[in-house]
Subunit: 250 residues, 2 copies
């Protein structure tokens, strides 16, 4: 049996958002590797070895997965959401480029998943229905100055913005600075969506105008989506619908 490596997206939480091709790969796997809470979503069965590992060991995990596949194992590396968006796929290819040249000949496939920003957008309406940008607000892996410059240019481009990892317990100040920057640069009441733990039993959806957005409305399980200048709120009983129109008048 020849080994292979699949990097699979489990979606935001609900099994109802896991694609059939991901379910199929998991059924054929000999080994499942990933961050502890994601591996915890996989049902144990005979013939399947689960390898849960801690956060912040992505490169070790990537090399482990590649070595197992090179040895003939059928390996699925699981990510939450989509594996290509701030998740394990980049780490795997970084390890391929720096590692054993034979790894380049491995059967490596990425299976997309429902990424958090699209699940969050769907719950709110259609805030990403026009041009948008996607920014990881964590400064673990890049300088804060880069984030700040991207935010300013994104406001200039009038993109809607989707933010991953808005606020960690250890570095809460970045998101406060982000909101302050946006409140000054946008100077309007565009909608901001806080979508926590979408599709799980702990889901909470909050929509507020930008001037009312506060840092403590987000935590590490929250996706934040900030509208463009054209994004609309539709008032109704409960949380308003939020959408960005498809067109800009010519």
């Amino acid at each position: 049996m020849t080994g292979w490596l699949v990097i699979a997206g489990l979606g935001p939480g609900s099994d109802a958002m896991v694609t059939p091709e991901v379910t199929q790969a998991l059924a054929e796997a000999s080994d499942v590797i990933g961050y502890i809470p994601y591996v915890a979503r996989i049902a144990p069965r005979p013939g399947l070895t689960l390898h849960p590992t801690d956060n912040r060991v992505e490169m070790d995990r990537a090399r482990h997965a590649l070595a197992l596949a090179a040895g003939g194992a059928r390996v699925v590396v699981v990510s939450s959401g989509d594996p290509g968006v701030f998740a394990m796929a980049s780490a795997i290819f970084e390890a391929v480029e720096a590692g054993d040249p034979q790894w380049r000949a491995l059967d490596i496939r990425v299976l997309p998943g429902i990424t958090a920003m699209l699940a969050a957008a769907a719950r709110a309406g259609a805030p990403l229905g026009h041009d948008f940008c996607t920014i990881n607000l964590s400064d673990n892996l890049k300088p804060w100055a880069v984030i700040e410059q991207r935010l300013r240019l994104a406001v200039g481009a009038d993109f809607a913005m989707a933010f991953y990892n808005p606020r960690s317990a250890s570095r809460p100040e970045g998101f406060a600075r982000t909101l302050e920057l946006l409140q000054q640069a946008c100077n309007d009441a565009r909608p901001v969506i806080f979508a926590r733990a979408v599709s799980t039993s702990e889901e909470v959806l909050t929509v507020v105008p930008l001037p009312e957005a506060r840092p403590e409305m987000a935590d590490m399980r929250t996706m934040v989506i900030v509208g463009s200048s054209r994004t609309r709120m539709i008032a109704r009983d409960g949380v308003p619908f939020v959408y960005t129109p498809r067109s800009i008048p010519k």
Copy 2:
């Protein structure tokens, strides 16, 4: 029976990328509404009425769907990919805002799907593994000057870029201008991915350095992804892997 309206994403083409919750909604529907080729993906069955309509009638389609749901029907509006990304969800909410106030009380749900850019990215590796932006290159619904300004700011922000609707038969010149702008503004050999009809039998994946990208490499069924200045190609037999590293050194 109370009516409802689901706006569902069918993913890029393969049934293996349709989420279980979308399959479930289709099984419960009384009416399926959408653009002809998307409705053609739905199997007929007793009790289900299919309403295929032509392109560029999005607002008529949206009002039709809302009126049916208000009348008690169980309606699924189908989009390719994700319904919230340059697809039907924005049109529906635009119709809600402008239409019968009672429509705001309807049970309207958006079910996300695998959008074309994430399917294309997965085929190539992980080109969207760092911050990126998503732009619809069609100038049907916005001035070309807006597109051009967004491209320039996206280069300044060093985003990877995903382009929907790069090149229509009727307006091929926009994509030629896009490539020319990027070739001048970037002035490097970052990878460009042309991913045509991903997950169908007609899938073709092409990766070239930016100076070699040509307008005729894209058509209306092609997603184009342009890397950031840091995006890497990993040479191997066949199409190279493309990925954007997760980190920027501090």
